[in-house]
């Protein structure tokens, strides 16, 4: 575009050190092959937010312009976003984007940092394994009736889609994936040498 303002603005007031591209930074650090697969899959899953937006707009138009609100949009929006939220956990873990307080972590020497990595990955693994057990319990009860036959927990609305069961399935999938990711990260941090650690410092 030939906007005359643009060059003058962007050249003149650039900070003395160029800003690293925030978009690149958002992609984070990928550590294992599984992480790479998850990060790739995220590109597809991410479109859920687009679908959720599109059907919400559809509902608004149908209701306001045609006085014919749908019976399915609100529930579908919630389950789409729930899936996005749940699977966002493994995605953020794959990109090492979960927020942490780095005051001490950044201050200690590489050797100590390696031990912190081992400790943290161990804790994350323990957490995710515990969560997987708990999520399995929840998922089982949402997909089986008390007599043990398969029966999906529905939302109880007139439409009654099995979204509660599906959402619990996504939770199980998310924490299960994170458990495997964390196990791989733990192995990686146990193998890492302190001297190699300094080089790949992020």
């Amino acid at each position: 575009m030939s906007d005359p303002l643009r060059p003058s603005v962007s050249n003149e007031n650039l900070p003395s050190t160029p800003e690293p591209d925030p978009h690149k930074a958002a992609e984070g650090v990928i550590r294992t092959g599984l992480d790479r697969v998850i990060a790739r899959a995220a590109d597809g899953i991410a479109w859920l937010v687009f679908i959720a937006m599109a059907i919400s707009v559809f509902e608004v138009v149908m209701r306001y312009a045609f006085h014919a609100p749908t019976s399915w949009v609100h529930e579908t929006t919630v389950i789409l976003i729930a899936a996005l939220f749940a699977l966002g956990g493994p995605v953020a873990l794959a990109r090492d984007k979960h927020i942490r307080v780095r005051v001490i972590y950044d201050a200690v020497p590489p050797r100590a940092r390696r031990w912190l990595d081992v400790f943290n990955n161990g804790v994350i693994l323990a957490f995710c394994v515990g969560m997987t057990y708990a999520a399995w319990q929840l998922f089982y009860r949402a997909t089986h009736n008390p007599s043990g036959a398969i029966s999906l927990e529905g939302s109880g609305t007139s439409w009654n889609p099995p979204f509660p069961a599906v959402a619990k399935g996504f939770i199980l999938l998310a924490v299960g994936l994170m458990a495997v990711q964390a196990a791989l990260h733990l192995i990686q941090s146990l193998r890492a040498r302190p001297d190699a650690d300094a080089a790949e410092d992020r």
Binding site: R63, H67, A68, P69, T70, S71, W72, V73, H74, E75, Q137, L138, R141, N145, P146, S147, E153, G154, S155, G156, T157, S158, N160, P164
Partner: protein, 315 residues
Amino acid sequence: ADYEWTFQTSETAGEPQFKIKQAWADNINEMSGGRIEIEILPTGAVVPHNQTLDAVGSGILQGHLTDPSYFSGLDPAFSMLGNLVGAWGDPLEFLEYMQYGGGEELYNELVNPYNVQLIGAAATGLEALVSKKPIRTVEDLQGLKLRAPEGMVYDIFSKAGATPVNLPGSEVYTGLEKGVIDAADYTVFATNQDQGLHSFARYPSYPGFHSLPMVAVSMNKEIWDGLPDDLKAIMSTATDALAYDLVFKLKARDLVAVAEARADPDIEIIDLPAPERKKFRAIAQQEWANWAKRNEMTQKVYDSVVVFLKDRNLL
């Protein structure tokens, strides 16, 4: 205390029902000479409101006092028993059905497999529809954008000609205020008035005609089965007292709010006339029959309710 339990309820700590339920717990503590101590927690305190059945069955919570229609997604019979839309003109009719018409036995047949035992049924009283448009006849429901939550409300109002909108409870206030919806199935008159809904939804219906949610007072079945008989009797009796407390304390509160609303020239309280109520009930009954087909248990409840209502010339 010999028994220390946590029961979760389905309302927030500020609602009057919550305080009445706390009084129930105090009553049990006193009657049992301190052997039972129950802590009453507000909705969502430990698990989400629609997950308490699971939590009670698995022992995370020891019990709950809640509206069973939240579990309609597990079994449609919960809706049929928990809030049979349009069936009851008075909470006492419903309580009579539950205690003396076979309702409690059916409810236990439904929840016992979940490892849950019903101690007793109570009810909040008829909920009052909040509306921005006057509803004087069933005809007036035509095209009315009405918020309907889970359960049968949606289908029945849809059948009656309204346009149900599936909107979550937290959106009711702004939705009504700004006009996204015209009316809402929300809660009892006094609470609607307290929250300021009538300042823009000026045609509340009172007494209500559509929704009378049960308050199922239940607990973990294993714990219940292990209780000595005297404590079981105390729990049941205290729950019967709770049923009266809920009905009449909430009614008194509603009456105060109704007087307040009557004094406001901007608010018109509409009492749906008896013939119109009958019309609405007839529409509702067709939908009950539809729901009854969903499974055996639901059909069983339907048959039992219809017999009860017919015997009393209510249907």
